[in-house]
């Protein structure tokens, strides 16, 4: 490394990381800090029961849309086909690792071979 790091820029980097850490931790700790006493409230119980499933499926939809090419020749098949592989394998064998590895391998082949 030939760039000489000044004390100033190291100080900025450290301050930056401290502030970034505080902001990120704040988003994670606020519910525990403010709602801890209400963990038995039926509304919180309701969220605890249903929110994970809703969050999981919205993560799928959002990340799936970002993994595929949705324009003319591919129409998202480069992401949809591997996803169907995951769903089918998982419904069949219910082995999480197998489903994930097979789907990922399928996606990698599509992305690297330019098949689609």
């Amino acid at each position: 490394m030939d760039s000489v790091l000044s004390a100033d820029s190291t100080a900025y980097l450290l301050a930056f990381i401290a502030v970034g850490t505080a902001a990120t931790f704040a988003t994670r700790v606020i519910p525990f800090a403010f709602f801890s006493r209400h963990s038995e409230h039926p509304l919180i119980q309701h969220l605890g029961r249903y929110l994970p499933a809703a969050v999981m499926s919205l993560l799928v939809v959002i990340f799936l849309l970002r993994s595929g090419h949705w324009s003319a020749p591919m129409l998202g098949l480069d992401a949809l086909v591997p996803s169907l592989v995951v769903v089918a394998l998982h419904l069949w064998r219910r082995n999480a690792l197998l489903s994930i590895i097979a789907g990922t391998a399928c996606y990698m082949v599509f992305q690297q071979s330019g098949l689609f």
Partner: protein
């Protein structure tokens, strides 16, 4: 004199290593190492800071999208208030994750702070989807290990990326799909565990709506907010229905 630390290291590894937790977190390993490497490479190629800056960020901040955004903020020498606001808004979806884990982390003692600190999308997914037994503290110990393993993968990836920089090129294009596959598997598991598909549809519809109307950087938080609000409406509806049933049955009790 050189002190040989290897027996200590081996002991620590034996205590910390847990085969079932490792297997559970393997998909996150496949996702986090390449994504962490992408972050590390970006960090050293876009910025004039030493490699350990990337490692320190992964240890202290530990937020994938947040750290990638941080690179552009660092490059622009952004003000610290701006940094705080940007990272808070970007990670705001985590505000909602805690709501469904309040009871689960209760009484976790010193582990609780780390469980909260390490609550990424992927860790949240694993913690809320895995099978649990009644023994609370044993389960919390496992939760903490899952959180710790996941963060280790992230730190490992970003450090490798920062050290190797552009020097080594290997074609792992597409391996980050492991995270999408993980989310698909966990959605199926959530559906099977709940025996209800309504929340799955609520999540998917919220995402569809936000993908259609919001810019890319607001879609995730938008979808979490819409899904949470819909579940609040769902709760209200259930409450009213239960109340109506109770009135109908003239004081008969309902099941939650």
């Amino acid at each position: 004199m050189v002190y040989d630390a290897s027996p200590l290291c081996i002991t620590v590894c034996l205590i910390v290593f847990n085969r079932s937790v490792f297997q559970l977190t393997l998909p996150v390993l496949f996702g986090y190492v390449p994504l962490g490497m992408a972050f590390g490479v970006l960090f050293v190629t876009q910025l004039d800071y030493p490699w350990w800056g990337a490692t320190l960020m992964s240890v202290a901040i530990y937020a994938g999208a947040g750290q990638i955004l941080a690179i552009s903020l660092l490059a622009a020498h952004a003000g610290l208030l701006e940094v705080f606001v940007a990272l808070f808004v970007l990670n705001a979806r985590h505000l909602f994750y805690g709501l469904s884990l309040l009871g689960r982390f209760r009484g976790a003692g010193w582990r609780k702070a780390y469980l909260i600190f390490g609550l990424t999308d992927e860790t949240y997914s694993l913690l809320t989807s895995r099978k649990r037994h009644d023994n609370g503290s044993d389960e919390q110990r496992k939760d903490a290990l899952i959180t710790f393993y996941n963060q280790c993968y992230w730190i490992l990836g970003s450090t490798l990326g920062a050290l190797l920089g552009r020097a080594v090129e290997f074609d792992s294009t597409g391996i980050e799909f492991a995270l999408v596959a993980l989310f698909i598997v966990l959605t199926i598991e959530q559906y099977k565990g709940l025996g209800e598909s309504l929340p799955v549809w609520i999540g998917a519809a919220s995402a569809g709506l936000c993908l259609a109307v919001l810019p890319a950087d607001q879609q995730l938080i938008g979808a979490v907010v819409v899904a949470t609000l819909t579940l609040l409406g769902h709760y209200r509806l259930n409450q009213r229905r239960t109340a109506a049933n109770d009135a109908h049955r003239n004081g008969g009790h309902s099941h939650g």
